[in-house]
Amino acid sequence: MTIFHEIRQLAQSTDNDYLTRARQQGHPTVGIFCSYVPEEMIHAAGAVPYRMRAVASEGTSLGDTYFSSANCSFVRRVLDKGLRGDFDFLDGIVFMNGCDHNRRLFDNWSYAGPDTGFNYMLFVPHGRSEACLAQYGHELAKLGRFLEGRFGTELTADRLRRSVALYNRKRALLQEIADSRRAAVLPISGTEFLSLMLAVTAVPVEDAIALLEQVLAELRAGRVHTEKAVLRLFVTGSCLEELSHMELVESAGAVVVADAICLGARYFERPVAVGGDPMTALAERYLRNLSCPRMMDDTAGRIDHVRERVSSFGADAVILEKLEFCSMMSGESYIASHELRKVDIPSITLTRELYGGGVGQLRTRIQAFYEKVINRS
């Protein structure tokens, strides 16, 4: 089995052997949502942070008994999986107020009570100001005390520094792989990169580093995925974890070369600063990293980032990915599409249900958009 086959398998399953092994060695598994939960703190407490996902989801029927039809399919599917026992291997979950759907996932999860250990809510401010940073630091300190009590350990500065070093290494490897997509000859597709992201957020960081080093070795050995892409795409949006959707986007000759999504650049960009107080450095990095639309005072920063990446990765167009009922991305996609039009970057907003239907419609929209972009050049 090649490394890419293993990655694909990991990406498509909920639990995996790496987690089982870690549990056997006494490392509990803690689920996390969103990119604002510092994994280093969970790792330093002796646990394995695990990015929650809806892969292998069977539907929403159980989730729908808690959520309404006006709630997003990600939370409905994840809760559904939880109620079916798919996450019973977890020892706890750290939720966060990423959006209204997500914060209510915490409430419904706590109420429905799947067998997944503790439920903790991390409140993250909606801005990046000094006051918000101080508040976030205060919330992280509370999380730290909770983890210490829960796992009977102490989050010392040394432990945190060791965890930071490991996660920085993981980020650097992901960054290097992501940067390899700047080249004209692409060593890895967007779908493969998403698989990689799903895989390395579901295994212990030490194993993730080993997997990433193997992938990088293959890329350095001259792996070629696409000689010359017809279209190079930049993808931004919120929750996007469906490999099938990424394959659909790439199936018409286009390749995703860069992104600003939660399971992408938002996860690995910018290392945590080393040398000072690790808790301060964690707060700074996680609150002020590449933001998502929930952060109200960084709209212009996000648009600038898209423009810069489109230019530096030689992307021809931008896809704005949005889940149905996502208010945050509704506003963001309006602003982004207007700003991109000003600098002559074509964009399209794709609204979808997570693992939902409507593939034919989406394919038609995507193909028409590609034709439009190709014909203009």
Binding site: T65, Y66, C72, H101, D107, Y111, A134, Y334
Partner: protein
């Protein structure tokens, strides 16, 4: 519907001016409203479109002269508020937009700055008929903005796109109470191009969280001083807080009166007070309004036999009420069901400690955390659920209605928990799929049909 620039605000000003004059003689006004009721009560049509919303605002002919007299002061406050907005449009002073959950005192504490709350259009757009809402929503739809965003926020955006609101000199946004307001704040800042300060509000009502909110409010005032080049009047702030305390004492008492059996029947008045507070907190007229309403309540509690005739069963609206058409008076008249409590009119405001500017700002911050809709929507589900449990018990409710507002994703996400609360209390709940601002989702007639079926099915009506 084609709207002329500022047509909605001008209609509000005209309506408030008329209300101020007519309600000066509340008994005569009462007779007039009773006489006009056959034309205005049941449904909107071509002949009553312009006046029906105003008719509903003053109790749909169900209010007593005392309630009408109280409302006169709301008209005076409304008139002052919107007249200043038009003055700002004409360049007399700078205009500041504030997110609706924010204390308006942040801007109205300046002597020479007009404060405005764009979300006010959620209610006032109806002054030109319910197509006013639709016109604003359609303007947003033409821009390509998704209807995933709450209609309240889209109406404010649409009002700006249709030149119903002057461009601000500065914006103070707030991270409350939901995703829709967070994203709309960003859209408003983007479209208007005005400099903005964002307040990250508290997640709980604990002191440490409220302190952060309070600190942000001080910073917002400093931001406005810098941006506008004007000084904040702290003496005015002190006076406004004293007024707010007085208003709150009356509102809290009225809420208690609604808990009596039979109730004082003043929940629509409390809803009005909620709206007036958003735009006019600190205005002494609102104390007069609250005091007059309180006196109506005292009278009704003294003569409960008068209320017993109308109160056959008691309802909690566990939601924002339907805004494009007022339902509680229709329910009362048609079925004898009285809305005794809802999410926005339920006043349980803590007294503000006036010993220093810091304690006052903490108090103002806390006050707005206890304001309806913010009170339930921020933080964890227990804020909503505890509130509903408390209301069901304190108000001795017989049933609960949730309009199921499409924009309240956080509220919609709690439907199972809310149903279970009602099951525990052994009372029925109706959860609709309405949009409280957008009649195109569920019309007034459809809502009335659902309500009728619910009341009949549960034995409240035959």
């Amino acid at each position: 519907m084609e709207l002329k620039p500022y047509e909605i605000i001008e209609s509000v000003i005209a309506g408030a001016r008329l209300g101020t004059k007519v309600l000066d003689s509340p008994h005569l006004a009462w007779l007039g409203v009773k006489a006009a009721a056959p034309l205005l009560f049941h449904r909107e049509h071509r002949l009553n479109r312009a006046g029906r919303f105003g008719f509903q605002k003053i109790g749909s002919s169900r209010w007593s002269p005392g309630e009408l007299a109280a409302y006169k002061h709301d008209c005076i406050a409304t008139l002052a508020f919107f007249q200043r907005v038009l003055d700002a449009r004409d360049g007399r002073e700078p205009l500041v937009w504030l997110g609706w959950p924010l204390p308006i005192e942040v801007a109205s504490g300046f002597d020479d700055v007009a404060a405005f709350v764009p979300e006010a259009f959620m209610a006032i757009a109806n002054m030109v008929g319910t197509d006013g809402h639709v016109a604003c929503l359609e303007a947003v739809e033409r821009e390509g903005i998704s209807d995933d965003i709450c209609a309240m926020d889209r109406i404010s955006l649409g009002a700006y796109l249709l030149e119903q609101i002057p461009t601000p000199a500065a914006i103070v946004s707030v991270a409350h109470p939901c995703d829709a307001s967070r994203t709309t704040s960003q859209l408003m800042e983007y479209i208007s191009g005005a400099p903005a300060y964002t307040i990250d509000t508290a997640y709980t009502k604990e002191d440490a969280d409220v302190a952060l909110y309070s600190k942000n409010l001080f910073e917002a005032i400093a931001f406005l001083e810098d941006t506008l080049g004007r000084k904040y009047n702290w003496d005015k702030f002190r006076r406004m807080v004293a007024v707010l305390n007085e208003q709150n004492r009356y509102l809290n008492e009225i809420t208690h009166m609604n808990q009596s059996i039979p109730s004082a029947g003043l929940s629509l008045g409390l809803q009005t007070a909620w709206g007036s507070k958003i735009t006019g907190a600190g205005n002494p007229e609102l104390v007069k309004s609250a005091k007059a309403m309180y006196n109506v309540g005292r009278f009704r509690l003294r003569y409960p036999q008068l209320r017993r005739k109308v109160e056959k069963f008691r309802i909690i609206v566990a939601d924002m009420p339907i805004v494009f058409s007022e339902m509680s008076m229709w329910i009362e008249k048609t079925f004898g069901g009285v809305v005794v409590g809802d999410y926005i009119g339920d006043a349980i405001f803590p007294e503000i400690d006036c010993t220093s500017l810091e304690t006052m700002m903490m108090g103002v911050a806390r006050d707005r955390l206890y304001m309806g809709m913010v009170k339930q929507a921020h933080g964890a589900a227990r804020e909503t659920v505890d509130d509903l449990e408390r209301q069901i018990e304190q108000f001795s409710a017989d049933c609960v209605i949730q309009n199921g507002h499409q924009g309240c994703k956080h509220n919609r996400a709690l439907q199972r928990i809310v149903k279970d609360v009602c099951r525990r209390h052994d009372i029925p709940i109706l959860i609709m799929e309405a949009d409280i601002f957008d009649k195109r989702v569920m019309s007034e007639a459809e809502i009335k049909r659902e309500l009728t079926n619910f009341f009949v099915a549960n034995g409240f009506a035959s």
